[in-house]
Amino acid sequence: MKREITITINDEVHTATVEHRYLLVDFIREIAGATGTHVGCGFEGRCGTCTVVVDGYAVKSCLMLAVQADGAKLLTIEGLARGEELHPLQAAFRDLHGLQCGFCTPGFLMTLYDFLKDPIDSEDAIRHAMSGVLCRCTGYVHIVAAVRQAIAVLAAMTPTERARWFPL
């Protein structure tokens, strides 16, 4: 019923023995203590606020078992900034009011992190990329504007500078 697993979250290695049915999102929140990753739905996996980056891809951590992530490298919202320096996407959300209560924000940032690795700068493409995260208070207009700013800021960087913001 249980298994020992090791998951690297934001460069920190966490080893624990968990039940097979234990969800990845609970490993992140309860074992690694990274509570920036939120939970917004019961079973359906539709709100997207639990999104984290697993081995480079944005996935909903409520739709993955922790045992399935044994050996994986994760990036969560806590790993996005470099010390005091915000990720260009975080800075853009702050500058352009991409959040109010902030409940959905970790899901948007981690989903858009994946999109921004190879972005398409169009409103349509951005809206499609973030259709798996629901925001119930800010609305999407400011978020789209923030993503466009982040695309521009990242595009102006040298490839090495840009790569620094995409460790996974």
Binding site: G48, T51, Y57, A58, C62, L65, F115, S131
Partner: protein
């Protein structure tokens, strides 16, 4: 919500081992690929399994390859990879359209094309596209294998000792163009109606073969044979496309359920069939240029 306790979890590295475990635990086990259909069901307690066999670590099932005159898609090809594959986009666009139409970015990152066919859910985007391409599922068990046409997939067809390893179809001949379009309740939703169309054009632009498949209807996707006949052996015009839409709406039986009324579904068929055929025609014209 939490799945019921899972007693055993296996993550085999090779297919032989997966097949052996599958045979050993048979009806009490479930295979898990992307888990995007299985885990919500297990969390909602609509399903419970004492044994899970995780396919994600199997080797050699992550590719889209050409083998002889066939295209073979491995069991671990995610929707995202299928949607982005240049060869599929070129020769089997209906399938890349369908993969791109699924859920959202996160679901496409994890969910597999084959998992979508194995879940036995009528509201699937992949099934109509796979049927339009004449695709088969390769099912293996410890001592043999068989090919089952996607049209024959309903719940119970896959034996609890089998693993689907590949989706296969004959590489469409030059002049073949296809597309898939859907309407769901929201951007990330399953199809209320989804329509796949495939047309083979000759040099003059006449259609020599046409297939139209409507998904989102019960109990499985249906072939719109009369609608397809209206666009065969002709030069496609916008009037003909409208006629095809009318024919499909008339011949496909639709159902009322929590997602939509039967009448609304018929209306969607009437409007989607011409749109998807127009897309096929646009792809043909673009290449003809």
């Amino acid at each position: 919500m939490y799945p019921k306790p899972i007693e055993r979890y296996f993550a085999p590295r090779n297919l032989e081992e997966a097949l052996r475990l599958r045979a050993e635990y048979a009806a009490e086990c479930a295979l898990i690929a992307g888990g995007q259909s299985l885990l919500p069901r297990m969390k909602a307690r609509l399903a419970s399994h004492r044994t899970l066999i995780d396919l994600n670590h199997l080797e050699n099932l992550t590719g889209i390859e050409s083998v002889m005159d066939c295209v073979r898609i491995g069991a671990l090809v995610r929707h995202r990879a299928a949607a982005a594959d240049p060869r599929l986009r070129q020769t089997a666009s209906a399938l890349s359209d369908a993969a791109q139409a699924i859920g959202d970015l996160q679901v496409r990152n994890r969910g597999t094309v084959i998992g979508s066919l194995c879940e036995g859910e009528p509201a699937s985007d992949i099934a109509p596209a796979a049927i339009a391409l004449g695709a088969h599922l390769r099912l293996k068990h410890t001592v043999g294998e068989r090919l089952v046409p996607v049209t024959a997939l309903k719940s119970g067809v896959i034996d609890p000792r089998e693993v689907a390893t590949h989706l296969e179809f004959v590489t469409p001949t030059p002049g073949t163009f296809s597309a898939y379009l859907k309407v769901g309740r929201a951007a990330q939703d399953r199809p209320i109606i989804g329509v796949a169309a495939l047309v083979v054009f000759d040099r003059e632009g006449r259609s020599t073969r046409a297939v139209i498949v409507v998904g989102g209807v019960h109990p499985a996707p249906q072939l719109a044979l009369r609608a397809a006949a209206t666009v065969k052996d002709v030069l496609l015009t916008s009037r003909l496309l409208t006629t095809a839409g009318e024919a499909a709406a008339a011949e496909i039986a639709t159902q009322d359920d929590t997602m939509a009324s039967a009448q609304y579904r018929s209306q969607l068929i009437r409007s989607l069939v011409p749109q998807v055929l127009a897309q096929v025609l646009a792809r043909f014209r673009q290449e003809a240029r």
